[in-house]
């Protein structure tokens, strides 16, 4: 009988081995045995019970453990319903799966999925698996995997990461990754360190550190909560007293705190008077008062008082009651984010960090201001020639900037390489706007010298026409002018101070233009003749200079520079038909504030305007409109006190 039973069992076993290839797998492999040890926990994984199994897998040191855990996380581990053997499986179709041995990943064969049950860890468990996997990833041979693991940890740090990190730091070969690991280890120690001393040491490590991650790790430690008590306790976690009615704690908030802790009777919520009156409307009266007369707060309050007397409504806390309650209690802040010693250490370090953050923000702001100033300078420098030197008001100057930018856009349509296209666009933009400027000087401005108001009007006409023309040709939507790849990104000095390469390029371009202007005006024959013609055209003419030709060339030169500025501005802002109009008033302001006829004045004007605008934006963040408004008002006032600008021309040149 016994033998017979054994025989039947063996037959059954051999049969099942034929039909279910799972039986062919190696049940003695260490990983399989380990999984069997935690078989039930794995099969019915829940957040509460799974930790030992995950720990066992992680600690086993088995080469297959990482693969098993990854597959498990991906819901690709199945378990045989009868034998309990774990396999890795891929679904082939609805009913069949291809199974693999977890120990060596060798394919076993195909099977019906009815015999197996899929392990489906829920998201909580998958998170725990991921955390455990980090340890494997940190020691991965591929540096990118290690960096990914570090990213994952810094995104979502957990206590278990700390020992894992500490284990691998010593063996890390890549110095950059090692630095990151050390920093992350310090950050994690702040959060999960074993004792206060360890945490304080880690906090001290970040003295003066500007990293956002350092502040993100420190800030939760100094979290406080406002509490109220009859007497302020003298425990280390208690901070100084707060007076109700100060900025930190309004009186109503303080009272609400007392109410929340059942230390004072609740206030009547807003609208309760009205609601109570409506509840008690009886026909057309409330508390004996005609409803129709309740159209003032005084009438309503007196009717409500009657209701209270009749016991139909809860009395509201009076002002005196609130005052008494607030006077009876002391309000203070309590550290709730960390033990007091840690919190105080964090507080001190944070204060140091904030000081250096403020310093660096100022530096960043200054960089921003310089960059904005160089943009204004670029936009204004062409004007400094046509308006400053020649005295011609060209309201179409903004449209020349726009033409330059569109030239860049068109060049990019034909030349796909960004570096080459920008190098081509700059001389082309100069040529296009030079031609436009010369044409405008010949056709319009020449007839209007000495009639500045008419020049202003006629160039307005040109400006309107050019703007609409650009709209008709290029449409109203913004066109891109893409900077070459090597101008992408920014120069990062630290976590706070950074400046994009485009802005640096614009700054350099502004300097180049300044140099160009100075050389042309002071060192060339053309510059000499220009100065002669602008000071005294008749005298210049009698010296053999052709004033017509000089005026034409000067105007063309100024317009051409506006075109190049357009390419630069187009890289930084979008190219639209209205982009010129956005700069025209600021450009004129820059020239006028600086002092007409002096390039250094224009430079100073641009610096002043740029700094002013950034400064006002800093005082009133997220409101560039207000910044521009106040800046223009400031300029209007400034011109009251220095009508001829910062650098005023003196002597005969001023009369010219």
């Amino acid at each position: 009988m016994r033998h017979f039973l054994i025989l039947i069992w063996m037959v059954a076993l051999s049969f099942s081995a034929l039909t279910v290839p799972a039986m062919a797998q190696n049940m003695d492999a260490p990983i399989q045995q380990l999984m069997q040890t935690h078989g039930d926990a794995l099969a019915k994984a829940s957040r509460k019970t799974i930790q030992p199994a995950i720990d066992a897998l992680t600690a086993s040191g088995l080469p297959a453990a990482q693969n098993v855990m990854e597959r498990w996380q991906a819901k690709e581990v199945w378990r045989h319903k009868d034998t309990g053997a774990f396999v890795i499986a891929e679904e082939i179709d609805r009913d069949t799966i291809r199974i693999f041995d977890p120990s060596d990943r060798s394919e076993i064969g195909e099977a019906e999925d009815k015999a197996y049950k899929q392990l489906k860890p829920n998201s909580g468990v998958r998170g725990m698996i991921a955390a455990a996997l980090v340890k494997f990833q940190l020691t991965d041979a591929d540096a990118r995997v290690r960096v990914t693991a570090l990213d994952a940890i810094s995104r979502d740090p957990e206590a278990s990461h700390l020992p894992a990190l500490r284990d691998v730091i010593a063996t890390e070969s890549d110095p950059d990754i090692a630095t990151r690991m050390t920093r992350l280890e310090r950050l994690l120690t702040i959060q999960f360190g074993a004792d206060d001393a360890e945490r304080i040491a880690a906090i001290a490590h970040f003295e003066g550190d500007l990293g956002v991650d350092a502040r993100a790790a420190l800030n939760p430690l100094v979290t406080t909560r406002v509490q109220a008590a009859q007497e302020r306790p003298d425990t280390p976690d208690v901070l100084g007293p707060i007076t109700p009615g100060s900025d930190a704690l309004s009186r109503m908030d303080a009272y609400a705190l007392l109410v929340a802790e059942n230390l004072a009777p609740p206030l009547i919520p807003p609208g309760e008077v009205r609601a109570a009156l409506i509840r008690n409307i009886d026909g057309d009266t409330v508390a004996g008062v005609q409803v129709a007369t309740l159209s003032t707060d005084a009438a309503r309050n007196s009717a409500f008082a009657t209701l209270v007397e009749q016991g139909l409504a809860e009395p509201a806390a009076t002002v005196q009651e609130i005052d008494t309650a607030l006077d009876a209690f002391q309000f203070f802040e309590v550290y709730i984010g960390a033990p007091p010693t840690v919190a105080r250490a964090a507080h001190d370090v944070l204060r140091g960090i904030e000081a250096s953050v403020a310093l660096n923000q100022t530096a960043d702001l200054a960089l921003d201001a310089v960059s904005l100033a160089s943009i204004y300078f670029l936009a204004a420098i062409g004007l400094a020639i046509t308006f400053g030197v020649m005295g011609v008001i060209n309201m179409a100057h903004g449209e020349f900037i726009m033409m330059g930018a569109y030239t860049g856009y068109v060049v990019q349509l034909f030349v796909p390489d960004h570096t080459l296209s920008i190098l081509l666009a700059i001389p082309l933009a100069f040529m296009v706007t030079f031609a436009a400027g010369v044409a405008m000087e010949r056709l319009v401005i020449r007839w209007l010298y000495h009639r500045p108001l008419e020049t202003l009007l006629a160039t307005f006409g040109v400006s309107i026409a050019l703007q609409q023309l650009a709209k008709n040709i290029f449409g109203t939507q913004a066109r891109p002018l893409t900077a070459p790849g090597w101008l992408d990104g920014s120069m990062v000095i630290n976590d706070i101070v950074s400046i994009s390469y485009i802005r640096i390029a614009i700054f350099i371009l502004a300097l180049v233009f300044l140099a160009l202007f100075l050389i042309v005006m002071n060192r060339t024959r053309l510059g000499l003749e220009v100065r002669a013609v602008t000071q005294n055209p008749r005298m210049a003419a009698s010296m053999g200079i052709n004033p017509d030709r000089i005026n034409m060339l000067t105007f063309g030169f100024g317009s051409g520079i506006a075109g190049i500025a357009g390419v630069a501005i187009g890289l930084y802002a979008k190219v639209t038909s209205e982009m010129g109009a956005d700069y025209i008033v600021q450009s004129f302001m820059t020239v006028v504030v600086g002092g007409v006829g002096n390039i250094w004045g224009t430079l100073l004007g641009a610096t002043l305007v740029g700094t002013m605008q950034k400064g006002i934006e800093w005082l009133n963040p997220s409101n560039t409109l207000a910044a521009q408004t106040y800046m223009i008002l400031f300029i209007i006032l400034f011109i009251q006190f220095r009508p001829r600008g910062i650098i005023a021309l003196k002597g005969r040149a001023a009369e010219a």
Binding site: S295, L448, A458, F460, I464, A465, V585, A626, I639
Partner: protein, 421 residues
């Protein structure tokens, strides 16, 4: 200056404004005929040939003529090319718009609160109105500048006082530091830009770029159809234009007019003669700002909506364009220019103008009108500085044919020599 009328104020005084300005009578007669004609042809009071929306367009055009008159006075006669008068126009619109919007919302809120179990308190009504008006910019409280919005007389006063004060302060600052010519133009343009940028903010208290809307509905007069309201506004606009013309004609004649024209021609010389140039300029600047604001206050109830884009500097530039095309330095020129350009502009941009098919390209006037306007403006500045009004010089008007005589029928208009300067 051989013209005796302005050299001898006594002689000028002895003749009434009308005789020195024959164009006043003709103009007012034309305006009256025009108003009468439109009324007869309108839907509200007449045979219904002219649609209500076109009546509104005509009414708005009259307001634009009025602001062009103001522009002509300050630019054509006093030589201040202000690029800020459309800002004053807009402020007038905003001032009246605040009352229109407040009063109308109040009626709606009171109606909706009437259904509530308790009669509303003033505070509840005010909160309701604030939520209605400012919900769109995420606020629910009245900004301080709305303190007077509940009162029509006070807001009407604001139409005059606010732009007047702004012009007074700005003008005082600018003229005091002797900012003149193109610098002054740029400065006024900056003022306009600052104002429009300020109004574009949501926390400006005037609903940011949403502006004020629903202004065509007169509070409490819901029963009156728009066809009738449009005629009322046409009458009001015509009356304002007539009075404005008379006022401007009176200002430019006589001694005051002579002085401001002299300032236009040579400011330094007038100052050396002992006149307070700044005071004259300030008076003209402020007066014209107020006229512009009144025009705006009549314009926007007909337009129905006002937003900060209306105040943008380009609007003031167009104003200068109208006056230049019409012929500056003569009052009827400004009116003709504003009426002509704005009506033609409406015709072209309204899609009524037939497209021109060139075979390879179809010129759509909606797109090309602005180009044409810009270029014709250049052409007028270059070749016809007298503008359309210059055609009047072809009419023999009995003025002595001599060098330096006033152009056109009116004394004190632009003189021959000046026009050719």
């Amino acid at each position: 200056m051989t013209d005796t009328t302005s050299l001898f104020p006594k002689y000028a005084k002895s003749r009434p404004v009308i005789t020195r300005h024959p164009s006043v009578l003709i103009f007012i007669a034309c305006l009256a005929l025009f108003t009468l004609g439109v009324t007869i042809l309108s839907e509200g009071f007449g045979i219904g040939v002219i649609s209500t929306s076109f009546v509104k367009t005509l009414g708005k055009t009259l307001c634009l003529c009025l602001v062009a008159l103001a522009m002509d006075l300050v630019w054509g006669y006093c030589g201040i090319l202000s690029l800020g008068h459309m800002a004053f126009f807009g402020i007038g619109g905003y001032a009246i718009g605040m009352w229109l919007m407040y009063a109308r919302t109040e009626i709606i809120v009171v109606q909706s609160l009437a259904a509530a179990p308790l009669p509303p308190t003033p505070q509840e009504i005010s909160d309701g109105i604030a939520t209605q008006i400012f919900g769109v910019v995420g606020a629910s409280e009245f900004p301080p500048i709305w303190a007077l919005a509940h009162s029509l007389p006070l807001q009407l006063a604001a139409v005059v006082v606010v732009p007047g004060l702004l012009a007074l302060i700005f003008g005082w600052l600018a003229f005091r530091s002797r900012v003149t010519g193109v610098y002054l133009s740029i400065l006024t343009q900056a003022m306009t830009l600052a104002l429009s940028l300020y109004l574009f903010q949501n926390d400006s208290g005037l609903r940011g770029n949403n502006g004020l809307s629903g202004l065509q509905n007169l509070p409490g007069l819901d029963a009156v159809p728009q066809s009738v309201v449009s005629i009322w506004f046409l009458w009001a606009s015509a009356l304002a234009l007539g009075l404005g013309y008379l006022l401007c004609a009176w200002v430019v004649s006589g001694k005051f007019g002579s002085v401001i024209r002299a300032i236009r021609d040579d400011e330094a010389r007038v100052r050396f003669l002992g006149y307070s140039v700044e005071a004259y300029k300030l008076t003209v600047f402020t007066l014209t700002a107020v006229i512009a604001a009144v025009a705006g206050a009549l314009y926007y109830p007909q337009a129905g909506i006002i937003n900060p884009a209306e105040i943008a500097p380009i609007a003031s530039i167009y104003l200068a364009v109208w006056v230049a095309i019409g012929g500056r330095g003569r009052l009827y020129g400004a009116v003709i220019g504003a009426a002509f350009v704005s009506l033609v502009s409406t015709w072209f941009t309204g899609g009524q103008a037939p497209d021109v098919n060139l075979g390879f390209y179809t010129i759509s006037w909606v797109d090309w009108w602005t180009v044409l306007l810009g270029l014709s403006f250049v052409a007028v500045t270059l070749f016809a500085p007298k503008g359309i009004g210059g055609l009047m010089d072809l009419v023999p008007a009995g003025t002595p044919d001599r060098h330096g005589a006033a152009l056109g029928p009116d004394d004190s208009a632009l003189r021959e020599k000046e026009a050719d300067k």
